[in-house]
């Protein structure tokens, strides 16, 4: 596959992630709000409430949407660097706020909007740094040495 094709494939999956993750959260919120507030945390009411939640079509639609997000996440991680994928997911937090505002009609104060923006920026920065800072494990070191030996033999 050419690098251009790989780029298109990666970007398409990132778009899928940024859309389906937040959409799943929004649907989950919609489904649960329709049930009304959980009446209590006692074991006498909790299982019943959760069963009712799983009887809701919206909740299952949410779970499907979150599954699409999760599968795309796993797929894209199988070829792209974590440090490239993770910052892209920071957009999801802004997306949730936008969808909450426009789709669910939630009221969001200016302070909260600024908070969401700062969170996006923070998550983006967290992902900008190397995903791995610890030393290699013994088996990985062995494998790296073996590869280095083979390379020097070929050379």
């Amino acid at each position: 596959m050419s690098s251009r094709q790989l780029k298109v494939k990666t970007l398409s999956l990132l778009v899928v992630m940024v859309l389906f993750g937040p959409m799943g959260d929004i649907l989950l919120g919609k489904g649960m709000r329709r049930l009304g507030p959980v009446p209590g945390l006692q074991l006498s009411v909790l299982p019943n409430f959760l069963i009712r939640a799983f009887e809701s079509g919206t909740v299952w639609l949410a779970i499907s949407s979150l599954s699409v997000f999760f599968i795309s996440y796993l797929l894209v991680l199988s070829w792209a660097d974590f440090s490239f994928v993770q910052p892209s997911t920071s957009l999801g937090y802004g997306m949730v706020a936008l969808l909450g505002y426009f789709v669910l009609g939630e009221s969001i104060s200016p302070t909260r909007w600024i908070g969401v923006l700062v969170i996006c920026l923070g998550v983006f920065l967290v992902g900008q740094t190397p995903a791995r800072t610890t030393e290699l494990s013994a088996s990985e070191r062995q494998r790296a040495n073996a590869i280095a030996a083979t390379v020097s033999e070929i050379g």
């Binding site: 937040p22 959260d25 929004i26 989950l28 919120g29 649960m32 709000r33 049930l35 009304g36 507030p37 959980v38 945390l41 409430f49 959760l50 939640a53 909740v59 937090y93 949730v96 706020a97 969808l99 909450g100 505002y101 669910l104 939630e106 969001i108 104060s109 200016p110 302070t111 909260r112 909007w113 600024i114 908070g115 969401v116 923006l117 700062v118 969170i119 996006c120 920026l121 923070g122 998550v123 983006f124 920065l125 967290v126 992902g127 900008q128 740094t129 190397p130 800072t133 610890t134």
Partner: protein
Amino acid sequence: MTPFVPFFFLVIVGAGTIGEISVSRAMKEIGEVHDFSPRNLISVFLRALRVPWMWLGVGLMACGFFALLLLLSFENVSFVVPVTAVSYAVGALGGKFLLGEKISRVRWLGVGLVCIGVTLVCIG
């Protein structure tokens, strides 16, 4: 239910994060998957079921998900989801103090911003 909001966040972030660490530990025990044929994936799945860490991880992640469901039954999505970003701070602190990872200055800056953002969302 409002007094329980911090408790729900504790379960979502705490159980969710520890659950993910347990699952990743279980997957490390199984080893890297090279063969993606359906037959091999089924065998990987069956092996995963025999690792206790997997059961612990999946159980904890389920608890986190249930807590998210319950919290969303009375709180706005645009409040709940951004606040769960606090898991990045928990992850960095856990990585540093439990796993001995070195956290770069840029990552600390990111974690700091996430914390400020979460505070703004909470007071907003």
